[in-house]
């Protein structure tokens, strides 16, 4: 008997693939910059958090 299919692959769903293709490179670059900024800001906040713990 064939094994029933579960939707394990939301990453590959048609809607997501189409949406991804529709993003032009400017949008993708902007999103890259946003996520890189999120990471950098988080670690900057963590650096401040070290000082916060020191002064507590």
């Amino acid at each position: 008997m064939p094994v029933p299919h579960f939707n394990y692959l939301p990453a590959l769903s048609g809607a997501r693939v189409r949406a991804q293709k529709q993003l032009n490179w400017i949008e993708r670059t902007m999103m890259d910059l946003i996520f890189i900024a999120v990471v950098v800001v988080f670690f900057a906040v963590s650096g401040w958090y070290v000082r916060f713990c020191d002064k507590m």
Binding site: M1, H5, Y8, L12, M31, I34, F35, V39, C53, M56
Partner: protein
């Protein structure tokens, strides 16, 4: 609950007890910058070269702030490095399948996931990532994120053990030595063992197998330009069925519902575009290949948990035999157990190390027994209907492993911050699923992630000693060091960050459109899915309850943030506490000193862990798995 399974459980605990001491003794050598190991002739030149390349003076130790900044800087750089690989994998080598780049939100989620030792995977490894991305982007993190956790635990233990000291060691030295002398050699041997069991290790393109039984699936129809073909159809809604007199048709007091076209304000049918679906016959199956064994070895030993395949440790290429399953579970706990022995040796109180180990084992056994019993009892509705042929709940379980090995694996992987799975936790019974969820919410201190488990448990030890001091009206002392307001503030900060982030994100998701859109189950089970996702992310576990479509920009972003918060905002106050403890003098024990070994201490520690866990999470758990358990008994499923 078969006798052979009891035997396996006994064997598992016995072997853990046996490997704890040798692993602890080896850790003593590895975590000493001047420690000597039998690997020195091979690895010492490489270690010296590494220090020279990164400009580190191994003899210079850091205070707690220097240690924390070094850890944060390293994590920032390695996170951005992985993000770049995931976004540029289509231009990088070793990509025989020609996979494109990950989407930005998914790359953010994955990079933070592997940086934080979480290994939450919102993607399907075998159909998303190139060999290069798997090996360089992810496996390197499996080593260094595990080494970072061990380094932090070592720094905290040094803080407890040292007397009037300003420094905690050198982060870079701990990172390099743990990677070179501990993780790499064991993983090399472990990977060869896994290959002997049948796990693959190659760089071949994926192969195709002809199916003996073909089947048909429905796929969207595409035009000449590969664009989906759509058709305009009326939107249907449910409405009560009416009889000829215009009254609702009732059956057993309930209105009969039928589909009717939805109308707009002008009485016109509301139309929408839907894809045209066509039948496609499936005649062959793609079989993934790749360097799997090397990834699985560190995935287990380093309590990372990220599978090469989406099916993780239930896939025959990741976990082919009962022996591979057993050894993989042992490897998850091996370093965590060894670290309790390391603690005992460092503080010159081996009974304390064993007491911490015993507290972990009590919680572990309680979790296994509850999970195993619930799964073996099965679904009560199936029992009532007389269709429970499997002798328990086998939904979502690999038949090769069965009920006990699935329950044991689920408990082990969530006691530690591993997150590898050999069954679908979402398919467990309500109480069976409660165990992994609560394990994670306790902070994964039951052996725990490599390093993370010990430093998490030591936070509870500080709290337990503090509570004991309050009860007897004396200044609390831990191994001769006075526990004062600063240490308690840092301990509480570490614990509260976790609780606030888990409950805050889960609450946000449970009332937002983006959160509810990802659910595949309603009611308390749906809440459990969201609660599990954020518990797993904050606890840096990485296992998923499944049933939640989390690969959306909102989920990817919030889960990514939760992983960062759960890792780094917890570690910083712990290193601060280590720095404070290191500066204190060690006072000799007196009549009023609370003993940190023995049965009384273990009971107090267990009480503290369970009380804090219950106070933080019981209200949320009551709305999720606990109420689901009682509703299942009444015949309601979600």
């Amino acid at each position: 609950m078969r006798s052979i399974d009891w035997l396996q459980l006994g064997l598992f605990v016995a072997i853990l007890a046996l490997i704890t001491k040798p692993m602890g003794l080896y850790l003593l050598r590895v975590l000493d910058a001047n420690g000597r190991t039998w690997l020195d002739p091979i690895l010492k030149p490489l270690e010296r070269l590494t220090y020279r390349l990164i400009g580190v003076k191994p003899d210079v130790e850091q205070d707690w702030k220097g240690y924390a900044f070094a850890m944060l800087l390293f994590s920032l750089v390695s996170c951005l490095f992985t993000y770049a690989i995931l976004r540029l994998q289509h231009w990088l080598p070793l990509n025989p399948q020609g996979y494109g780049p990950m989407s930005p939100d998914l790359a953010f989620n994955t990079a933070t996931s592997f940086t934080t030792n979480t290994n939450w995977q919102s993607y399907t490894g075998e159909s998303t990532l190139s060999y290069f991305a798997q090996m360089v982007g992810l496996v390197i993190h499996n080593f260094v994120s595990a080494a970072t956790g061990i380094a932090i635990a070592a720094a905290l233990v040094r803080g407890i053990a040292r007397h009037s000291a300003q420094t905690l060691g050198n982060f870079w030295v701990d990172l390099v030595r743990t990677t070179y002398y501990l993780l790499l050699p064991i993983c090399t041997v472990f990977a060869v063992f896994l290959v002997s069991q049948g796990i693959i290790q190659n760089f071949k393109p994926y192969t195709k197998a002809k199916l003996t039984e073909t089947y048909t699936v429905q796929v969207p129809k595409t035009d000449d330009k590969n664009q989906p073909v759509t058709t305009n159809v009326a939107v249907m809604v449910q409405a009560p069925k009416l009889d000829s007199a215009g009254k609702p048709v009732m059956t057993n007091g309930v209105a009969v519902m039928v589909d009717v076209p939805k109308l707009d304000d002008k009485g016109q049918r509301v139309m929408t575009n839907v894809p045209v679906m066509v039948d496609q016959k499936v005649e062959e199956q793609v079989i993934p290949q790749g360097p799997v064994a090397s990834q699985i070895a560190i995935k287990m030993l380093g309590t990372n948990g990220g599978g090469y395949m989406n099916a993780n440790a239930s896939h025959p290429f990741e976990n082919p035999t009962p022996l591979s399953n057993f050894i993989q579970m042992l490897s998850i706990f091996a370093i965590g157990c060894g670290l309790t022995y390391y603690l005992g040796r460092m503080v010159k109180n081996q009974a304390h190390g064993w007491s911490v180990w015993a507290a972990m084992m009590v919680l572990f056994l309680a979790g296994v027994l509850l999970c195993w019993h619930s799964e073996a009892a099965g679904n009560p509705i199936h029992q009532q209907l007389g269709v429970a042929a499997a002798g328990g709940n086998m939904e979502g379980k690999e038949v090769r492993f069965g009920i006990f090995n699935s329950a044991l694996f689920a408990t082990v992987t969530t006691d530690a911050s591993c997150g590898a799975v050999n069954s679908m936790h979402d398919s467990f019974t309500a109480l069976g699923g409660f165990v992994p969820l609560f394990n994670i919410q306790l902070g994964e201190i039951i052996v725990g992630g490599v390093g993370a488990g010990l430093y998490g448990m030591l936070v509870f030890v500080v709290l337990a000693v503090f509570i004991a001091g309050l009860m007897v009206g004396r200044t609390p002392e831990y191994l001769g060091k006075k526990i004062q307001s600063y240490e308690v503030k840092m301990a509480m900060l570490a614990l509260l960050v976790l609780a606030v982030s888990i409950l805050g994100f889960a609450a946000w998701a449970s009332v937002s459109t983006w959160g509810l859109a990802g659910l595949n189950n309603t009611g308390p089970h749906g809440l459990s899915e969201m609660l599990y996702a954020y518990s797993s992310a904050n606890g840096n576990n990485g296992s998923a309850f499944a049933g939640l479509s989390a690969n959306t920009p909102w989920y990817n972003t919030t889960i990514g943030l939760a992983m960062l918060i759960g890792r780094f905002l917890m570690i910083v106050p712990i290193i601060a506490m280590a720095g404070s403890l290191a500066r204190k003098k060690i006072a000799p024990p007196s009549v009023g000193t609370f003993p940190v070994s023995g049965v009384t201490f273990v009971i107090l520690l267990l009480g503290t862990v369970l009380l804090v866990g219950a106070l933080n999470f019981l209200p949320a758990l009551s709305l999720g798995p606990i109420v689901e358990h009682f509703l299942t008994g009444q015949g309601k499923l979600y």
